[in-house]
Amino acid sequence: MSEKELNIFKLLSQKPWEPSQAAIDNEHDGKTLASSKVKLGVRTIMVVSTVIFSLFVVSYSDRMLVHDWVALSEPGLLWINTLILIFTSFVFHKTKILSDKNEFEKVKNYLLLVGFLTFVFITGQLLVWQYYVNIGQYASTNPANAFFYLLTALHGLHLLGGSFFWGRATTKLFNKNFKVLKIKQAIELCAIYWHFLLIVWLVLFGLMVIT
């Protein structure tokens, strides 16, 4: 990210009354950051989500210190899901590179693959839920379980929200006369969001594994 006015201290110590500064200010085009508004929108959403998940991590760390905490043993399926999510992110990255090269026929297939993998991941998570329910590990059984259900659900909802925009980009791409720049931007932003959710998942999963 290449900001124009990265430094808030510099900004706040400008002297607008100096003629030289006034001349610069008069030409100012009104943009603070050299980034498109959609990209900034996605970034803001990611910041807000990060705060939400961080607060959950803090609550988790606080709650696990109480004696009634019984760590949950993660089934192998959860590791497979994690690998699938990593692979999805990898594929999405590849998609982004292809769309930068304007190879949209390939991009179509790759986007569908991303959608399929995401679907598999969410199904996998639901299967893990089913597994826990079958062995009698309900949300109310133990706080560790409650956090597991809550965090997987929130992560899944974030992914479903992203899938909405993935769906919009994919349908646009399959439309004959799509706008190249818009598609490129949509794919790039979706890819960033998927990578973000991968990192969130790795942090959450890591936390659950080590405790």
């Binding site: 607008p16 009354w17 009104g30 929108g41 803001t44 609550s59 949300a139 109310s140 809550l150």
Partner: protein, 608 residues
């Protein structure tokens, strides 16, 4: 993309010069040419006024909804006051109704009225106009934001009609009592409250996204950040705070909902009820308090910072003098915003936390007094030797300064652990926070409505009703809250339904009756104000363009009141800050932001 706003300044200029021999001034700067804004042009009544994507209409929608729910909050406060002033007189007031009134009054006023009004209402209306944008950057998301807010309000209202009624847990909703039987509304009321809050947060995030990115990216040419009106700085910083603080409320609301519905124990400790051990155990109610106040304290500044910004503009315009120390004002806003995230535990001095923890939070709390005091001095120094016009907006702005100083000083007392412990949970606290974040911001809301009403409707509010509104509200607010400080000193606890015949209540009985009568009168005056708003909309005295002779861009749109798209074919170009009043050497009394230096020869540039 609409082709309505294609910039053809260069063509227009050449046409001018060929026809009239017009030469552009030496400091001519072309208007902003990159038109990346696609505006949705409403075609029917529905898309124009109901499902509208114009930030100005959305702002008015937010303001009207917030006012409507705020009136319910006002009526609830009457219920509380009737019970406190005249206990055992009114059969419709029982302990349950009282606690429900307290809870809903607090929650409605803080979140659904003040936050929605300042950020949703004034934010939407003012940001695009003041920074010279055609609309918010994501108009559709902005519209959805309002409808989420409306749904949140409706869910909140629905809780009045479910079995058990709305929650009566106090606006802080502390577990475990909030979801335990015995607290009013512990069945459905609390669930609807939490759901409504979660919806509010989601809706707000959509709106906040718009406010922040519009301010950062969508300003017109020449509008640097340090030339923005302080209103925009206040709303912008408050929105950033809200985007970072509301997640804490969201997280707390989700976990408490699960504790209630699924029987998890995030916050619920081991509890014995009626001789039986409940299924809960191990949860930490203190964790909820930390989460709640990590949201709750920035929330105070989410309400206060827009008020600071707006009042700075109003004082400057109505005193015909530039704001004293503009840069310092901006720093103060940013510093207060940053500090507000590390003071939250001063709400929890009596929760049994480590004294060193309290020491830390007392220190940070008192440090906030520095930038806040700087702001107060700057307002007073702006008034110093100003050409003060005692218009109604100015009266309310002056009322704000006095009230804010008053509430701020009691805050210094409460910020100290040692003084707070005996005063905690007394009416002193109630008096403090009503002064500092109830009356003070609402004074600014009134000032802002009287100030910008002509811009929104093209008409003035009735002056006589306005003066009555000001004096009754201002004097009445002191009649209500000054005695409350005294009640706190003699130890009357807050939240009690009735004091019965406690020995120290003898001197409080008369005071409580006095407060109640004052509250009824002040409350009634607010309905008079509403009457004024609605009748002046079509009967009010017509306002000429820019009636207050202000400099900021919102008063200088081609259409008055501004229409869809805000500015005409071309966006204005900004050459100065919005506070050029009575500039030495200038032949004009005030110089709007878009006036080029060559048009006002001799005008000195003032240091800020």
């Amino acid at each position: 993309m609409s082709d309505e706003y294609i910039n053809n300044k260069m063509e227009a200029k050449s046409a001018d010069s060929s026809s009239g021999g017009y030469a552009p001034p030496a400091d001519y700067i072309p208007a902003k040419e990159s038109q990346d804004q696609e505006l949705y042009h409403a075609k029917s009544f529905w898309t124009r006024w109901v499902f509208c994507q114009d930030a100005k209409v959305i702002g008015v929608q937010y303001a009207l909804t917030a006012t409507a729910i705020g009136m319910i909050g006002l009526i609830l406060s009457w219920g509380m006051r009737l019970q406190l002033g005249f206990p055992e007189t009114f059969s419709f007031l029982g302990p349950a109704t009282y606690y429900q009134s307290v809870t809903m009054h607090g929650m409605i006023m803080v979140i659904y009225l003040l936050t929605a009004l300042f950020l949703g209402g004034f934010g939407n209306y003012l940001i695009p106009l003041m920074v010279g944008a055609r609309d918010m950057v994501f108009p559709y998301v902005n519209m959805v934001s309002y409808w989420m807010f409306l749904v949140a309000v409706l869910v909140l209202l629905a809780s009045f009609f479910v079995p058990g009624g709305p929650t009566g847990a106090g606006w802080t909703l502390y577990p475990p009592q909030a979801i335990m039987p015995g607290t009013p509304g512990s069945e459905m009321g609390i669930v609807l409250m939490l759901v409504s809050l979660a919806l509010f947060v989601i809706g707000f995030t959509m709106g906040g996204l718009n406010y922040v990115i519009t301010v950062l990216q969508s300003r017109t040419r020449g509008m640097t950040l340090m030339r923005m009106p302080l209103s925009v700085w206040g709303i912008f910083t408050a929105t950033v705070l809200a985007l970072l603080a509301f997640p804490a409320l969201f997280v707390a609301a989700i976990m408490m909902t699960l504790d209630n519905l699924l029987g998890t124990s995030f916050f619920m400790p081991e509890i014995f009820s009626m001789g039986e051990k409940l299924k809960y155990g191990g949860g930490s109610p203190i964790l909820f308090q930390h989460l709640f106040w990590f949201f709750g304290h920035p929330e105070v500044y989410i309400v206060a910072l827009p008020a600071f910004g707006i009042v700075s503009d109003i004082i400057s315009v109505h005193a015909r003098k530039n704001i004293f120390g503009y840069r310092m004002m901006v720093w103060a806003i940013v510093i207060i915003g940053a500090l507000s995230f590390i003071v939250w535990a001063h709400h929890m001095y009596v929760s049994g936390m480590n004294p060193w923890f309290g020491f830390f939070f007392a220190t940070t709390t008192l440090i906030i007094a520095i930038p806040t005091a700087i702001k107060v001095y700057n307002w007073v120094l702006t008034l110093w030797r100003g050409n003060i016009h005692l218009t109604i907006p100015m009266l309310f702005a002056l009322g704000f300064i006095v009230t804010f100083v008053n509430g701020g000083i009691t805050g210094l007392f409460l910020g100290n652990v040692i003084i707070d412990v005996p005063l905690s949970d007394t009416y002193f606290v109630v008096a403090h926070f009503h002064m500092v974040m109830g009356i003070a911001p609402i004074m600014v809301v009134f000032a802002a409505i009287y100030h910008w009403y002509p811009l929104i409707t093209g008409r003035h509010l009735n002056q006589v009703l306005g003066k009555i509104h000001f004096w009754v509200s201002f004097v009445g607010a002191y009649a209500i809250y000054f005695p409350m400080h005294y009640l706190g000193f003699i130890g009357v606890p807050r939240r009690y339904f009735e004091m019965y015949d406690s020995p120290y209540m003898t001197s409080a009985v008369g005071l409580n009756q006095f407060i109640t009568i004052a509250a009824l009168i002040v409350g009634f005056t607010q309905f008079l104000f509403l009457y004024n708003i609605f009748t002046s909309w079509y009967k009010g005295e017509k306002s000429e363009r820019n009636p207050w002779k202000a400099n900021s861009l919102e008063w200088h749109t081609p259409d008055y009141p501004p229409t869809h798209g805000n500015f005409g074919k071309e966006l204005p170009v900004v050459y100065r800050w919005p506070y050029d009043f009575s500039v030495p050497g200038s032949n004009k009394e005030y110089i709007p932001q878009h006036v080029a230096p060559s048009e006002v020869p001799g005008a000195k540039v003032e240091k800020t």
